[in-house]
Every structure is written in structure tokens, then in C-alpha cells.
Amino acid sequence: MIQTGTAVWFARHESRLAWRDWLAMMTAGKRERRRRLAIGILAFVIVMHVVAWFVVGSFAAAAPDKHMLVGITATLLLSWLLMVSQAMESMTRAFYARSDLDLILASPVAADKIFAVRISTVALSVATLALPLAAPFIDMLVVRGGVRWLGAYGVILAMGAAATALAVALTVGLFRAIGAKRTRLVAQVVAAVIGAAFVIGLQVAAILSYGTLSRTSILQSDAVLALSPDAGSVLWWPARAVLGDGTALVAVLALSFILLAAAVAIVAPRLGDYAIAASGIGRSPASRARRALAFRAASPRQALRRKEWLLLRRDPWLVSQTLMQMLYLVPPAVLLWRSFEAGGGALNLLVPVLVMAAGQLAGGLAWLTISGEDAPDLVATAPMPPRLVLRAKIEAVLAIIAVVFAPLVAVLAVASPWHALVTCAGIVIAAASATAIQLWFRTQAKRSQFRRRQVSSRVATFAEAFSSIGWAATAAIAAVSLWLAIAPAVMALIVLGGARYLSPRERYA
């Protein structure tokens, strides 16, 4: 029997909640889906191991030269930044998602224990989240290259601990620097930017140097190898640990867990105060408009569009999500600029990236406007037919897509009118398709549930992704040959048809 109120007791409580939360997320709370989930996971594990078998072939027995150290270190750094991003998200949630904090803070138990457990849980969860993708490759490296590769599992644990330590420091630093209210938004944006920055930075550098979107080209360049420290440098310890260097593995693990322990020891006793500060933001004086609002004439459709744009502009979640989407447009924009200078054929790469980004952005926006309606009854009782409500919401989404992508297409038109035309058509079709899918699978949800929108319908999520990919492929091929583009276009249409067929039937609004 575990004594109540201890860290172990809290850990059991937290792990039970985390398990049920994960299960509910994966099965949408339906017990009958558990069997399918288990089969799906098994299939995923098998497929990933088969893929990994072929991918790791030449690396498994390779000597730990500088090329390899650079490659592994870059991969670890990329993964670690994503872990930091994930850990920051989790820490922000710990402060602001107050489902049980009131209960805990009001209880006579020392709050630092629960916060210490929660920080450790975050570390464990970010490491665990990396496993589904990393484990198959590590397993195949072990099978083909020997047990020395098992050190990679230790490095993942160390990365999770270090990423959480940094995320805790960053989040608490933000709390102190800019206060509880702004931290919520800034932490989300920082997390998004951290997650994307490394990939994008490498891509931009690669484009500027080599005119390609490949991330590996710059990592394997002579310039990078020449600038890299000697093979004995501390910088390569994580990579060496992955490659089976026991001393490096112990050092990396020790350093990471010391960092995590320090973060827990320093921050956990004060997290209660931060949580209380975060809870107080709801009661702090609200931001006020400077002058009285002059009511403007508007048809019901205009009123709905304006409302959607205003809410989207004021939605911190969307700001960070949109920022992510926009950040990924930076490399193609640089590529466009380079191609414009050189007149090269790299424009063909640009077309699918823009079309894909438009589809994904439209999907997110469409969910927010169509399903994420915080006052569904109000809109449903307005004196306008339901189809006009939906039309206004779709117009709001497509107008944003137009504003975001029109400048890029306009610049593209100067470089190549044909590519601009194909891109424009692709953007319109991809955005319309993603919006249509969200329309067919619309549900009633709070905007705050945006993060979990994928859970409501896996069919919709996959259909949206495959539709965007299909239209991106269609546009990419159409830029070269219209006839060949028919095949991916037909596939995208099949995806759409399947989604329509599987979507819930008409409902009364």
C-alpha cells in the first residue's frame, strides 16, 4: 500500500490520468475501438520496422567518422528541439489547464511534490513520444549493427530530461519576465517557433548555398565538416553515446538528469505561486478598447465573416498555429527569391509546398470557423438559413487563404506565369477540399479544443492530409506536364469522394 500524499502516490495518480487521457484521445472515448487501436499500433510497429530495416542498412556498421557524427548530432538536435517544443507546451498546460490544480493547491499536501512529479512526467512523456518513430530504427540498428546501438535509448531518455529542464527554465523565465497573462501566448508561439526553427534554418541555409530544399546537403558539405570540432570534442558526446560509447552515454545521462533535478529542485516549490498567478489572469483588468465602437452596417453574412476574422485574430492558439504554417513558407520564399535571380527550374519544388501549406492552413481555419463555434445556439437561432451561415464561414476561411498566399503567387507570376497559374489553381482546390472535408465532418466543439480536433474524426484528419498531399502532387506534376497530373488528381478526388461517403449524414441546424 502506497502512503498517501507522497511523490510515489502522486506519480501513480498522474500515470493513471495520463494513461486514460491517452486512451481516450486514441479511441475517442469508445471502448469498442480499443481492439482496432491495438491492431493499428501493431501494424504501425511492423511497417516502421520494415522501413527501418531498409533505411539503416548502410549505417549500421559504419565507422564513427566526422560525417556520421555530424549527421547523428544534427538529427539529435532536431529531435531535441522538437522535444523542447513539446515540453514547453506541456508546461504551459500545467499552469493554465486548471482541471485539478484548485483541488491540489487547496489540499494540505505539499504542492511541490505534485509539481516535481508533473515535471518528471513531462520529461518521461516527451521521451516516450519520440519512441514510436525512433525505436524501429534503433531496433534495426541493433539487429544489423550490434548491441552498441542500444545506447540510443539512453540518449532519448537523456534528451527528454534535458529538454524538459530547458522548457521549465524558459517557461518560468517568461513568467517572471512578462507575467502570467502574456506567457500563455508567448510560450505557445516560442514552442512553435523552436519546433520549426531548426528545420527551416537548415533549409534556408541549404537553399542559399546549394539551391535545394534538402536538409542533408549542407550537413555533409565540406564547409560544415571543416568548421566542426575534432572528433574528441564534448560536442559529439550525444552522438558517441548513440554509437555505443559507454562513457559518453553515462556522461550525457548524468548531465541531463542533473539539469532536470536542478530544475525540479529550484522551480517545483514555486510552481504553486505561478499556477495561482496564472489563475488570476481571468480576474485581472481586461484589455480595453480605447474608444466606443461605432456599429457598422452589415448583412448577416458580413457580420459572421467579421466575427470569424476578429476571433481568429484574437486567438493565441491560432496565432501560434498560423505562425508555424507561415514559418514553413520561409524556405520556399527564399527558394523563389533565388530562382528569380538564377532563373532555375527549382520553381517546380515551390508549387507543391505552397499548395500543401494552403490545404493544411485551410483545414485548421475551417475547423475553427465551422466546428469551433463557441455560440452555436446563437448562430443557429439567427434568422438566416443554415446554408448561408456555412457559406459565410467558408468565405471567411478562403479570404484568409487568399490574403496569405496572394503575395507569394504574385511574385511567382513575375518569375513564371505558368507556375503561378498552376499554384493558384492548386491553392484554391486544396483549400476548398480541406474546407469541404471539415464541413462534411463538422461537429460542435469549443475553440479551445482545437488541439484535439484530430480526435473527433480520424477519417477527416487523414482525408485532409491525403487530399492536401494529392493536390500538392497534382500541382507539382501539372507544372511540368498537364496529362501526367491527371493520375494524382484522380487519387485526390477519390480521397474526397471516400471522405464524403464516410461522413455523417445531413443534420438539422
Binding site: A289, R306, P376, D377, A382
Partner: protein, 265 residues
């Protein structure tokens, strides 16, 4: 506060007429309900949990389609022409339907836009309503910081900004403090005095007793009694097993009316 409704608008005797309304889920939620609410009346619908009150109101508001029956809102067939019916109706649920990221002013501008109210008129009404409900000092603050009572008052202002002929409220006083509840009750009474019609559900029997012109008691999806408090007492007293005196409270009367036959015996 409220101007009487313009005389040029036709005022039918009944602002709401329901005939044979049926809605089934796994079991009948509303089972052949007949109900008529007079124009200018404040009508309270009482009933135990699961009696079909909210389902009935949602069908009147156009949020749910009945399986059968008819609904007339100020003479408009709400099932045949829902848009026309919605134009003269306002719906307020117990959970205020507002947007956290909008200010009350912006919210009222949005609602006025949805109902196509002329901007100058809407602005004047909005200012009056915000002042009347004590929200003027917060008119330019985002609603995310508001308490439940303030949010309910914003929703109420939104419901009134387009001057509806029929206001439908589902448990409007749930979770409100005494001051907010009094303000809401006062607004509803004023609205009824100005010629508007109010139909509301409530669990607070005292509210129904003090505010309502007439009370309808619904059980198992059917109207089991209707009238003023006195009339309800008489109807309850007519049940052979009940022994209600003249001074019986609404609570006693209500419990007698909705009691299962065996329970009443």
C-alpha cells in the same frame, strides 16, 4: 426602458401556439404537447428533470426539429418558415452563448448584424441595454474575464438588442447571484409589460410564483396543469389523493401535480 411594440405590428392573441408536439429520442421526450402562450404574457414552464422542458424550448427556438406537431410563433409557422420565426424570437440557454474574445459592444454589434438591425438603432439599443444591465463600465472589456452573471447579462442584452417578440429562456437564473437575478427578472418583466412575450423554464419555484402570469407544469412530455398559482392549487386539489389547503405553496402544488399516481396515493 422598453418602448411598447409598434401598433402597426399585428399582435395575435397567442405569441406561441404548440399543437401535438412530439419528439422521441430513446423514449418520448415530448409526447403530444399542446401549449398556448398569450401575447404580452410571462409564462413559466415547470417540470421535474427529464420532463421535456428544454427539448420543447429548443424546438420552439428552431434548434431541434420535432417528429410531429406544429409550432406557431406570433402567427408564423415556425416549421414551414423557420427564418421568419427566428426573426422575431430570441433564445437564451442556461449556459450563456457569448464569445470570450469579443467585448459586450462587439458582441451586440455582431448579434445586431445577424438580425439585420439598422446600425444606429442597434447602437442606441445596445448602449441602453448595457447601461440598464449595469454592463456599461465593462462594455469594452473582453468577455473572457466576466463572471457567470455578467456573461448571462451580456447574452440577455444580445437577445434583446433586436427587440424580439418572443423570448425563450432555459433556466435563465441558474448560477446568478441575487443582484444579477433581480436585474434579469426586472428586464424580463419590463419586456413583457412592453408587449413582448416571455416563456421560460426554471427550477426555482419562487421565481415562477413571483414572476409568471401563468405557469405550465410538464411531466413525461405532456402538459399536466396550467394556470395561475390559484388555478394550479385548484387543479392539484382536484386530485382525490391530494389535500392542499388554500395557502399551499407552489412547491406543494408542483409536487402534487407531478407526483406519480402511486406516490401521490
Amino acid at each position: 426602458m422598453f418602448q411598447p411594440l409598434p401598433p402597426d405590428i399585428a399582435q395575435p392573441q397567442f405569441a406561441l401556439e404548440i399543437r401535438g408536439l412530439v419528439k422521441r429520442f430513446e423514449r418520448p421526450a415530448v409526447d403530444g404537447l399542446d401549449l398556448a402562450v398569450r401575447t404580452g404574457e410571462l409564462y413559466a414552464l415547470l417540470g421535474p428533470n427529464g420532463a421535456g422542458k428544454t427539448t420543447t424550448l429548443r424546438m420552439i427556438a428552431g434548434l431541434m426539429r420535432p417528429d410531429s406537431g406544429s409550432i406557431q410563433v406570433v402567427g408564423i409557422d415556425a416549421l414551414a418558415d423557420p427564418v421568419a420565426a427566428k426573426r422575431v424570437t430570441a433564445w437564451i440557454s442556461d449556459e450563456p452563448m457569448i464569445y470570450d474574445k469579443l467585448t459586450p459592444e462587439e458582441y451586440l454589434e455582431f448579434v445586431a448584424g445577424l438580425w439585420g438591425v439598422e446600425p444606429a438603432l442597434a447602437q442606441a439599443r445596445a448602449q441602453e441595454l448595457l447601461a440598464w444591465l449595469g454592463l456599461a463600465p465593462h462594455a469594452r472589456e473582453r468577455c473572457e474575464t466576466f463572471s457567470k452573471g455578467m456573461r448571462q447579462k451580456v447574452a440577455l442584452a444580445g437577445a434583446l438588442v433586436h427587440e424580439p417578440r418572443l423570448i425563450i429562456l432555459d433556466e435563465p437564473l441558474t448560477g446568478l447571484d441575487a443582484g444579477s437575478a433581480r436585474q434579469v427578472k426586472s428586464v424580463l418583466r419590463e419586456r413583457a409589460r412592453a408587449g413582448g412575450t416571455v416563456i421560460m423554464t426554471t427550477h426555482i419555484l419562487e421565481v415562477a410564483e413571483r414572476m409568471a402570469d401563468r405557469i405550465g407544469v410538464i411531466a413525461h412530455g405532456k402538459l399536466v396543469a396550467e394556470g395561475t398559482l390559484e388555478e394550479l392549487r385548484r387543479q392539484a386539489g382536484n386530485h382525490a389523493s391530494n389535500n392542499l389547503g388554500d395557502g399551499a405553496s407552489l412547491e406543494d402544488t408542483f409536487l402534487a401535480l407531478v407526483a406519480e399516481p402511486a406516490e401521490a396515493a
